[in-house]
Amino acid sequence: MASTTATEAATLNSFNTRARQALRDERLRDAVARSTDLLGSRRVEALSELANADELRDAAAAIRSASVSRLRSLLDEWSDNFTALGGTVHWARDAAEATGAIAEIVAASPAGPGAVVAKGKSMASEEIHLNEVLASAGADVIETDLGEFIIQLAGEAPSHIIAPALHKDRFQIADLFTADSGQAVSAEIHEEAAYARDRLRRAFLDAGVGITGVNFAVASTGSICLVENEGNGRMCSSLPSVHVAIMGMERIVADLAELDVMLNLLARSATGQALTVYTNLITGPRRDGEADGPENLHVVVLDGGRSAALHSQYSSALSCIRCGACLNVCPVYRQVGGHVYESVYSGPIGAVLTPILRPDDPSARELPEASSLCGACTEACPVQIPLHDLLLKLRLERAPESATATRRWGFRLWSLAWSLPLVRHISRVLTRLGLRCTRVLRRLPSRGWPGAWNKCRDLPRAR
């Protein structure tokens, strides 16, 4: 825009620029619309199978906020129990500590630094850019979740929390698999899945180290719980002799009764399943006399900006259980998909979490603008995070720095004017007159300066 400086344009419009690009990509929009519609309607259906869904959601919200408020004692209890079982905990304050710890574990594993690493889906691992670090240390890291495998081949980032390759269609995937195998893989979905099964089966059997995420840690038992549909998480946590699980430090519940409440809502909210196909509850490494399972079990507990959020007005965002329900209902996400957010986390929760976890990143701070504040996200959230409130608070925080001097003075004058009864009266009369002219105003061009407002909204008709 001519009226703003080049740097302002870069920071103010980069999301818009990317969004405009996404809006022109018909393939992407079709794929995103199809998936989000399906996931959204299945969620509603699955929740209707619970006679006390509302009671469970209230309880889930209470459980999560209680956990977040007493993380110190829960993590302490969990790590004592987990360590007593023979597991090793690594406390990582930031990405560098986390990746450093995992690189050391891989280097010390029987297969050494060049080990084949079979990796299950983990958003925390995306946060710390684990794959790049391990690859540069010589490891052969292979993503084993079908969607993650696809985007690893494409060299892209996940575009949805639970359906990472949602933006790709089967023709694009066939091209990726053909390039990977050197042989033609047809664009038939079952054939593509069969190719991935064979290709990744070898990786599971060769892997020296398995890496997964953690859905919940259970303090009273020292367990970690991992939910998944394909069986790759079970493979990664059962077959290699070393299993490393990465956990955002807030992903903890007190006991199995709390876990039960969360499990009843997680899969229903995410994919509309009552439970995922595999609900894995892992309590320590392989025990004496057992025939398989990892001999060494490590959990990396990641802070990565969370403790700062804990002390802020945004701590409720840490209740998130990564179901992705807010993405599927968001009118912004549904139009543009996940990549325009340029963050591990997209959609409403991404627009909240990203600026909290990356406070020094100016591009993260514009994400809260990518919302119509309709509140559909808040309504869909199984743990009742007030997402649209948080988005508004984040906008408010940014307002003083993004306001131009003209705008600041404009609002100051307006506020002064409206505090005077006479001026306020005159302005109301003028407004009434103005509304009579809406026919003209409604015809304002959708290009240029009125466009940003006028393109998607209609002025009210005068009574």
């Binding site: 794929a31 399906l38 996931l39 209707s48 199978e49 619970l50 006679a51 469970l56 309880a59 209470a62 209680a66 408020s69 007493r70 993380l71 110190r72 302490d76 406390w91 304050r93 079908l146 969607g147 359906a163 390759a165 949602l166 790709k168 269609d169 079952h190 899945a193 099964r197 599971f204 059997l205 549909n229 394909e230 069986g231 079970r234 946590s237 059962s238 007190a254 009764a257 876990l259 039960d260 409440v261 499990l263 994919t271 439970l275 995922t276 196909v277 595999y278 609900t279 894995n280 509850l281 309590t283 490494p285 057992e290 025939a291 398989d292 399972g293 507990v301 802070d303 403790s307 804990l310």
Partner: protein, 195 residues
């Protein structure tokens, strides 16, 4: 706390947390018109699992009949009495599990509300048997079929190294949201319910 201890250094930065009331943990109530074994069979079937009710004496034959045309049977010891005694876990190892056509394991319990089979790792019960073969038979004592996974978890006293609730065949919808069965884990799952 000792600042040089990584755990203490990590935890001291977190707020202490006020002593609050423990949050409520209501038990999920499921909308269903069926009860007991039939409810489990219906839920498991809706996910794509097959099932069969047999007496203990019929079990070995049932497994063999099911496995016909599906490849070698790999059974964990004690899963089914009198079943191919020379093909038992753990003697045959992980590679054998990868080569087998059908894995046979005994389930701890089953959950009717979600159609889940609960299995555990143990000295006689490897993890690979129910994971690597393309088909898996879960041998379930009818008396262990209960309301839900939650009911099982809430009365659990000691946890095994791995407890898995298996809810249907392995699946993925990562390509165009189209359901594909049998991506990494078994694509065919059979519940053999012993009366």
């Amino acid at each position: 706390m000792n600042a040089h201890n990584p755990k203490s250094a990590f935890l001291t930065r977190l707020p202490e947390g006020e002593a609050t009331q423990p949050p409520p943990t209501p038990v999920a109530q499921y909308v269903s018109d069926r009860k007991g074994t039939q409810a489990f069979i219906a839920a498991w079937g809706a996910l794509g699992g097959t099932s069969q009710i047999a007496s203990a004496a019929e079990a070995a034959v049932a497994v063999k009949t099911y496995s016909r045309g599906r490849g070698d049977i790999l059974a964990s010891p004690g899963a089914v009495e009198g079943l191919v005694p020379d093909l038992t876990w753990p003697d045959c190892g992980r590679q054998a599990a990868a080569a087998a056509g059908v894995g046979v394991v005994r389930a701890e319990a089953a959950a009717q509300a979600t159609g889940s089979v609960i299995i555990r790792s143990d000295t006689n019960l490897g993890r690979s048997v129910s994971l690597l073969p393309p088909a898996c038979v879960f041998v379930i004592d009818e008396s262990t079929i209960m309301e839900s996974l939650g009911a099982y978890l809430r009365r659990l006293s000691a946890l095994p190294s791995q407890l898995v609730a298996v809810t249907g065949p392995s699946r993925s919808a990562d390509i165009e949201s189209t359901l594909v069965i049998g991506v990494h884990g078994p694509g065919e799952v059979h519940a053999l319910i012993i009366r």
